[in-house]
Symmetry: C2
Subunit: 341 residues, 2 copies
């Protein structure tokens, strides 16, 4: 039913190849035929069949995005919307489409990726968030398939990646609390298999050290990116004989959990406990009080990742393998106080 290049060729009285050449602005086409063909093209409302095109050109004008396995849960976090928003905006701007897959189990995940990569369905993929040892990275490298990692891989440091400096960011967040006079600062971390957890913890510890403050292991608790883990952390901290006066959390959602718990128990933020979160998702400015947050430029990360990947698949020169998006601390009420000692 659809109009093909052949229909156009017939009607214009030329060969299909000529039509194809007009379409791709081949230099050796006479202005007259070009005009004629273009007219028929428009008249018939021709649109190329991308499958056929891809089959011969071996390129799809599509990039793939692989959502991490437990996407169901993590999606609740605005992090993902933000990063996707960045990716899809940039891709659309460059004329690329975005393909998303996910899998509920690790097997399903690999299956989906295989379908994408080995089925030549996309020109390259963006890997979202990196685990300590990510099988997907090995998979991509093994198949020589273009990809960009959002995050970092210690195992393969030489791959294309877009990231922020999480160590420095956590350092800065902690410094801010120290600058506010805090000496008793706790940390709510993320799952230990995520690189980001380790990095932020490192920055936190370094900041303490540089300020001559001894770190206390009991003031570091492990959570995930969900609210509940913040709530749990809060309960834990507030029951300690010696409490921290301030907290850095791996994510704003976690800070929320903390805040909510504190409010329920009648504590005041920042007076009883100061808070600095991470990621500056839109929630953090909406809470009461608004939560200070380390803005890591999530949208920008997505945007840049998409840009980097598209450049890579086009074979353009890459100025650098690893791009670091700058962070900046957004200070809000939750950490604005000179703490007494």
């Amino acid at each position: 039913m659809a109009i093909t290049i052949i229909d156009v060729a017939k009607k214009a009285g030329v060969s299909p190849s000529t039509v194809s050449r007009v379409l791709s602005n081949h230099p050796r086409i006479s202005p007259a035929t070009a005009a004629k063909v273009r007219e028929v093209l428009k008249e018939l409302g021709y649109h190329p069949n991308i499958m056929a095109k891809s089959l011969v050109s071996k390129t799809t004008n599509t990039i793939g995005l692989i959502l991490p396995k437990p996407a169901e849960e993590l999606f609740l976090n605005l992090f993902f919307s933000e990063v996707i928003r960045g990716i899809v905006t940039q891709a659309a701007r460059t004329g690329y489409d975005l393909m998303m897959t996910t899998g509920t189990t690790e097997r399903e995940e690999l299956e989906a990726v295989t379908r994408l990569v080995k089925g030549r369905r996309v020109d390259g993929v963006i890997l979202l968030y990196s685990r300590q040892s990510d099988p997907l990275i090995s998979f991509m490298l093994e198949h020589g398939f273009p990809f960009v990692l959002i995050g970092r891989s210690d195992e393969f440091p030489d791959i294309l990646s877009v990231d922020n400096d999480n160590v420095q960011a956590a350092y800065d967040a902690t410094r801010h609390l120290i600058a506010q006079g805090h000496k008793r600062i706790g940390f709510v971390s993320g799952p230990p298999n995520l690189i980001v957890s380790g990095d932020r913890m490192k920055g936190y510890l370094q900041a303490l050290k540089d300020a001559g403050i001894e770190a206390r292991p009991e003031w570091i608790v492990e959570g995930d990116f969900l609210q509940e883990s913040g709530y749990r952390a809060m309960s834990f901290f507030m029951c300690l004989p010696e409490r921290p006066t301030a907290l850095v959390t791996i994510d704003d959602v976690v800070a929320f959990g903390v805040l909510r718990g504190l409010t329920e128990l009648g504590y005041k933020v920042p007076d009883d406990l100061s808070l600095v979160g991470f990621n500056n998702i839109s929630l953090s400015e909406l809470s009461t009080p608004p939560i200070s947050s380390m803005d890591i430029g999530i949208y920008q990360i997505g945007y840049t990742a998409s840009q980097t990947l598209i450049r890579a698949v086009k074979g353009e020169a890459m100025p650098q393998k690893r791009v670091i998006i700058p962070h900046r601390l957004i200070v809000r009420e939750s950490s604005l106080i000179q703490a007494k000692d």
Copy 2:
């Protein structure tokens, strides 16, 4: 470089067609050849080239999602993450992939859609949110392309759609406030070109009417889905000589804006103003106080839309053209009070 059906055929000593038939479980293949071919298939690590497959079969195993034009902004709203989460989860479960496009301008948007639809890139599309008169719907119908609308079209009532009963939902939300003793209830609406705005307004008005309460035009203000519009609405209401004692808002984010403004000015929620929002996005339970919200099952809407579309493109029988996802009011602190008159 990639392994094709021909490579497999050669190595197995059969013809390409036989391999193809083994792959599709054709009944007339001897168990012996099937076994042999399968072995080679595995040995060589064959994966079908989807482009070639699609070219001949004219089906892509992919559904498209068209994000509304100003996606950049609207994406801030968790509505989108939720609905996408539903779609992608269901699609992945059925072995379908999801393709996303968007456009910054109306022209770009149509271009992107055309690329998807006329380029035979997807088997069907999901249209997100419906404007009063949506050119995309006409476009789809014109081309006879399978699609599912999330929302409703008055112009074309007979298309596949997944929606919730916004009139009834707003009715119920308003009823709830009335049941709490409120008689002076305002409404913050959305952009008038969105169907959802009109529907919710209608339900709100009907509830007032049924309770014998006269609607006041000055208590209905128009906003968008952003926080600022809530803030503005709040300023407006609080300056009136006669203020409402409760508000229904088109979205939780808007309710947030209201709440934030009130808190800044020293007003108390629900005492000075009760609030009921819409969409029950995760923020609403995180605020102080938590905001009552009409949960319209966004995830479920996405999930069902995907399911409906995939059924449609597979040519399965559709029990019904229009699916309504049930809503339910989540009552939280922001509306829990017996208002004095």
